[in-house]
Each structure stands twice: as C-alpha cells, then as structure tokens.
C-alpha cells in the first residue's frame, strides 16, 4: 500500500495542516510517512502545497509528479495538479471555493463544501478538518479513531475546548462521502 497525496490551496486554508495530520496519523498506525512542503515566494497570498507519502514500505522519493489522490482547496490547485493524478485516483475538491468540476472521467471526484460545513459547525477555521474527514472516509487507509485521538492530543489546556468542534467537523467531512 502506498498513497502519494498532494494537498494544495491558499495559504491559511489549512492544506499543509491536513498533510501533517495525515502524516501524524499514518505514523501512529505504524506506516512509513513523509511530509514535504512546497516553500517559496508563492506562499505569500498564493498557492501552497505539500506532498505526503503513506506507505507500508520505507519511503523512497518524498516528492512525485503523479499523486494517487489530490486535495484541491482552491481553483488554481485543481487546474495545476488534476492532469498529473494517477488514473483511477481520487480528487477532493473544496466546492465552496472551486466552481470548476473535475474534467477527467477516469478519476473519482468528491465535492466537499468545507467552508459551509465549517460555518455550520461554528468555526470557519475547521474547513480543513472537514476535508480530512472526507479523505479518511473515502480512502479507508487510516482509522477515524486515530484521527480523533490525535485531535484530542493536539488541543490541550486552554485550547481543549476546540476538540469537540474539530471532531464534529471531521465527522461531518466523513459523512460527505459515506
């Protein structure tokens, strides 16, 4: 099993954090993982992306041209990376921001209204957790419990009140693809 995932969006949409969460959860489940961010001037107001590998074997290249899954948080990301996705791969589109549809018939597309759900849950910042939920539900390579444990460990002390909100966002994301 090897997943090569590109997560891409505007700086501030939490795309890099989705990647870190996937890597953390993968590591917790005993997988080999890498997380490699794009870095550079494009991060200011532009699109930032990261490449994540989850594998049951040691990870060779942490960067790749043909992801198994693409998470597109904004329109430029879908435009840039759709062509490279492996045939039979999955594209997750943040449909509140991206109006375009996935054009390739050989890909499975999920349209997740991340911002709308995040607002319904009560905090626009948790849109990325909605997307994380969609990814986990659609690919079934990570246990939802692992993510929920991680969320509880992530927000402690004064931030502990954010745990239910994030878990709710994560579960609503899962429900989008079930």
């Amino acid at each position: 099993m090897k997943k090569e995932i590109i997560i891409s969006g505007f700086g501030g949409q939490g795309g890099l954090a989705i990647g870190k969460n996937l890597a953390e959860a993968g590591m917790a489940e005993g997988l080999n993982v890498t997380w490699a961010p794009s870095y550079g001037p494009e991060m200011r107001g532009g699109t930032a992306n990261c490449s994540v590998v989850l594998s049951d074997k040691p990870v060779g290249s942490p960067v790749f041209a043909h992801p198994t899954e693409l998470i597109a948080m904004n329109a430029p990301s879908l435009e840039k990376f759709e062509a490279g996705v492996q045939s039979g791969g999955i594209v997750f589109v943040n449909s509140d921001v991206v109006t375009d549809r996935v054009s390739r018939p050989d890909l499975t597309a999920y349209y997740i209204p991340c911002s709308k759900i995040a607002e319904e849950v009560g905090n626009p910042k948790v849109g990325n957790m909605v997307m994380l939920g969609a990814y986990v539900a659609a690919t079934e390579i990570l246990k939802p419990e692992t993510i929920e444990v991680m969320i509880r460990e992530m927000f402690t002390g004064a931030k502990a009140k954010l745990v239910p909100l994030n878990i709710e966002a994560f579960r609503r994301g899962m429900a989008c693809v079930e």
Binding site: M27, V33, T34, Y39, G60, S61, P62, A65
Partner: protein
Amino acid sequence: MEKELWKGNEAIAEAAIRAGCDCFFGYPITPQSEVPEYMSAHLPKAGGVFVQSESEVAAINMVYGAAGSGKRAMTSSSSPGVSLKQEGITYLAGAEVPAVIINCMRGGPGLGTIQPSQGDYFQATRGGGNGDYRTLVLAPSNVQETVDFVQEAFDIADQYRNPVMVVCDGLIGQMMEPIEWHPVPKRKLPPKDWATSGKYGRDHTNVINSLYMAPEDCDQHNVHLDEKYAEIAKNETRWEEVDCDGAEIIITAYGTPARIALTALETLRSAGLKVGLFRPITLWPFPEKALHDLAGNPHVKAFLDVEMSSSGQMLDDVRLSVEGQKPISYLGHAGGVMPTVEEMVQSAKKALKEVK
C-alpha cells in the same frame, strides 16, 4: 523506541543540542532558518549560547573563537551564506580547530533560488577557502540520518581537530519524517589540551593561529595535515550499496536524489532491469576504492550519475573512481529543480541500451 515526526531543520538543531553543542552562531537564510530559530528557543535552556550574528562572516569567526576555547560550536547556513563562511573554514582547518558546519543547499550560483540543490559539492569537497585543506563532509539522505550524522559530527570534529560539514538540501531541511532519538555511538576523544581556555598553572600558553612566518614550517604543517587527512580517509569513508550484486546499471547519487533513486529502482526492477544504487555518504573522503572495485565487476555495464547540479559535480569523483572501466552518463537539474523518478527510469534504460 517511539517514533516522532520532525522537520529536518528543527531536527538538526535538536540533534546538535543532544550532542552537547555549547554555542551556536548563525544568520537566517532560507531554506535553513528553522535551525537558528530552534536554537534561539532551545539552546539557552540547555545551558548553551545562541547568537544571531550580524553576518555569516561574523558567525563563522565566532565559531572559530568559541571552538578555539574548547567549546563545541556550530553554525548553519544555506549556499550563499556558506560561501561567506569559507574564509573562516580554512582558518579552522589551518589552526586545527574542530567545528560543525551545516549547509542546507539551495540553487545557485550567486543568490540563485531558495529551492533544493546540490551545487555546492565542489565547494564542500575541494575546499571553498584557500590553501590545501580538507573538511570531512557527511551527506545524509533522510531526516533520521541527518539527526544521527549531526550528533556524530561533533565527535568526529573533536577526534581529528578538524571542521566537519553536514550537507543536506532544502528538501531534507523542510520535510517532516518520523525519527527515533536512538543513542549515537560515542567516541573516545582526546583531551582538548590545545584549547585557549585559560592557563591554569600550565607551563606554556596555548596559541591558536594559522599563520607561519617560515615557509619550511608551513610546509611541515601541511605535511602533518596531509597525514591527518590520510588517517581520516582510512577510517571514516562511508557509502551504501543497494542491490549492486549482479546489477548491470548502477545509479550513483547522494542526498535527496539517492532517495528519489530508491523509488526509481523499484520501477526499473519491475521492468526487469538489473539496477543498483551506489550512494556516497561521506563526500570527502569519497568512497573511491569501493566504487572502483564495483566498476570492475563484469556484471556492471554502465553507470548513471544523478545530482541536483547542472552538469555534474560529484560526477568528477565518479569518473576518477571508475577510471574509464565503464561508461558513465549523467542526469541532473540545477536551480532548485529536482530530478524525477520518471527521468531516472528513462535515463537508466537509455544508458543500458547504449552498452548492449
């Protein structure tokens, strides 16, 4: 042992603290700024000294001073910043002062780009400063190795009284990967009785200097240094061979390209090619004999050198080692562009086709 997810640059800094780094002097530059950032927050808490210097030149000279007094000192930078440190590095080598220097390489020449590159191979292995000197150069290809090598670098530097460089690139510095903080073997080290740390009843004054008034004395000093470098070459040369037994084509690569090559190897193997990877771990001393011997095997038909460099720098050492026994082709990109798995696969197939 429990695995922890660490970013390369932060792991470099933490590794140095665990290795007993007393002093860090540095100046921010992408893509290694997390090293000084982490040091500024954590080294003082561990009882060490952090100084953000006014320039890279100042930082390396602070290293010279602190290390000269017997403290464990380190500096880190990225390519253009490491260029500025070259004068200090040759002084360290000349005066035989141990220190650890990190180069998280980015595209060049000049200010180049901030993306990963390996264009500083010549600078690191040939001596970017003046004079006949060598720095031992360790080239990790993942975050775990980076952490292990940084810790070991302090011991190697102290053992030989010589600057040690750890060279990685922007990708290793920026990426996150699970690591274990396993114990790194500690060496038996000589006392630093040469350090300028106070006389304390000693009958002579220690002086740290790289200047000789008489040419004969400087010649003798060079002879002594050469003997030391020969000793380092004998004891410290490291490399890794992956699937080289029976391989017809050997990819030579270090650092990030070597890791990308591991994926290319899988693809090539499943296409029925007999392919291996020869990965130098010390860039100086270069694993010359091992590569020479590998090239002498009848099953080896050709080499493909892959680097993040425009026309190849390590390629010179590969050629010097292979000594014309087998053809060598080259694949590389500069300026922050990384060679892809697909390119490696195509280049390896092409190189093999040419000799069959």
